[in-house]
């Protein structure tokens, strides 16, 4: 009946686990966290822009 009880129970379990586990080491990675792999683009957009992208590469070769 009381919906809060399972959450409280989980909270107690976690707290207990943390207390028993000791210290947690958090190490930042050497490399910068760069990339978002979930680039939101539809294939039809890629196809539409494709020839323009190639033109750009050919026009500004020094940066590509």
């Amino acid at each position: 009946m009381n919906r809060k009880m399972p959450a409280t129970g989980m909270g107690l379990l976690l707290l207990g686990g943390m207390m028993m586990g000791g210290c947690v080491q958090v190490q930042a990675p050497d490399k910068p966290i760069v990339i978002d792999l979930n680039i939101n683009i539809k294939q039809e957009v890629v196809y539409r822009l494709d020839s323009k992208a190639q033109q750009l590469i050919e026009q500004q070769t020094e940066i590509f």
């Binding site: 939101n40 683009i41 890629v46 822009l49 494709d50 750009l56 070769t61 020094e62």
Partner: protein, 130 residues
């Protein structure tokens, strides 16, 4: 008369060679330091259209890449505006081409984010690439 024909043929051939060599050069060549970093595999083509570091870069390579990426972003922004797309969309589309055009031995990023070394075969690209 035969000599004159040979001369004309020679001039035409030389002209054709000159045109072909200029066409393959493009507007401006890559900076030698940039080319060296690509060839040695220190930097590679990311799937988002920018250059990335494979491992920890030297200060000069880091500066080089940051400069090039700023310029790429400016180019993508201008093209995106002109073509009714977002910068990210134009950059991604360009990356499809750039990865396809990596030379064997150069590094590129696979769709799962890992660095790959380009071989003779086609690179692994996002399924949305043409």
């Amino acid at each position: 008369m035969t000599g004159k024909r040979i001369m004309v043929a020679g001039i035409v051939a030389a002209g054709a060679a000159a045109i072909l060599s200029v066409a393959s050069l493009g507007a401006v060549e890559r900076d030698p330091a940039y080319q060296a970093a690509r060839t040695s595999g220190q930097i590679g083509e990311q799937i988002d259209g920018y250059l990335g570091f494979v491992g920890a870069p030297s200060a000069s390579v880091k500066a080089l890449v940051e400069d090039l990426n700023i310029k790429r972003k400016a180019a993508y922004t201008a093209q995106a505006r002109a073509n009714g797309a977002t910068v990210e969309q134009f950059a991604f589309t360009t990356a499809c081409r750039l990865i396809a055009q990596t030379a064997p031995g150069e590094k590129y990023q696979a769709p799962d984010g890992s660095w790959q070394t380009r071989g003779a075969a086609a690179p692994i690209r996002d399924s949305r690439c043409p």
